[in-house]
Amino acid sequence: MSLLSLCEWLARSEWSVALHESLYVYPLVETTHVLSLLLFVGTVVFVDLRLLGWVLRDVPVSEVTARLLPFTVAGFAISVISGALLFYAIPVRTYQSLFFRIKVLMLLAAGVNALLFQRATRRGALAWDRDPTPPRRARVAGAVSLVAWATVIVMGRMIAYNWFDCDRQPQPAFVNWAAGCIPQ
């Protein structure tokens, strides 16, 4: 079963149609998704800014991460649950959205960056924990994270626009390929 046919199957389910057509539940889920961003990206931004040495310079990096990342994780959980519901409400169009696909790739990039950074810092036991300006590698990790999350937000907002939708042809061949459009 391809991912597209899985999405088509989801789109036929009663709950998916109900959620998509509901007057209040869909906007409420979407508002929750946007608000979760305050908690999730809002806290991760300040961890990243600390890694860049731009804020909370007197606080050890390990203290900032230990104190703020639990809130990031809680916000991320709300983002993922509300985001999954939004996808479930409009599965086929979202799956074939160029913006959604870039968003997922950037989510993965942000995740890999965070994992690599975590592994590197665990080994080094943070000799630079108290440095107001962390070493270059940590600053790069912070900058990559900021750019990745910013792109996730922008792409997420752009999903609402149908410029590159499969039912709007003709599109450049590259767009159709990247969005997974099937030629009629």
């Binding site: 946007v34 990206v41 809002g42 300040f46 804020v55 104190r67 703020l68």
Partner: protein, 156 residues
């Protein structure tokens, strides 16, 4: 000039017209508005969490507030600088929107409370924990109202 006429004139402004006539200007400005929201959310939250006794709880409230205030001011600047053009492009719709009205009232209250009360509490003499918690809950409630009402403008 009635308020409606004022809003009509604002919508007819050169900037408002340029944004309406462009396919990508509104989405682009809106995206930056949303990035500003994420930063604003963090700058408000880190201080309010501290007032609630969680987050950076090992640091003095005044220190956390001093560190975060410039970022809050920057985030508000971005929000206002992008919010005004967005408003100009659809001022008449905003005039009729309950969500817009709620957002503007909540925004005025949130700004007054944050800079008039919360930051003074945070940077002044330490207060009992329950006062800190009360201030943090008011701040969070106001800013969450601003953000959700803002999202709701798009649904109306």
């Amino acid at each position: 000039m009635t308020p409606l006429e004022l809003f009509e004139r604002l919508e007819a402004s050169a900037l408002g017209t340029a944004i309406r006539d462009s396919a990508w200007l509104f989405p682009a400005i809106e995206a930056v508005h949303l990035l500003g929201l994420a930063l604003l959310g963090g700058a408000v939250l880190v201080v309010d969490l501290r007032l609630l006794g969680v987050g950076l709880a090992q640091r003095p409230v005044a220190y956390v507030a001093r560190q975060l205030t410039p970022w809050l001011a920057f985030a508000i600047t971005v929000m206002v600088a992008t919010g005004i053009p967005l408003f100009l492009s659809e001022a008449v719709k905003c005039f009729h929107s309950e969500a817009f009205r709620l957002k503007m009232v909540a925004l005025a209250l949130a700004l007054a409370f944050t800079f008039g009360v919360r930051n003074r509490v945070a940077k002044g003499q330490p207060l009992p924990a329950r006062w800190n918690r009360f201030v943090a809950i008011c701040s969070l409630a106001l800013w969450l109202t601003v953000a959700s009402a803002g999202r709701w403008i798009g649904f109306s």
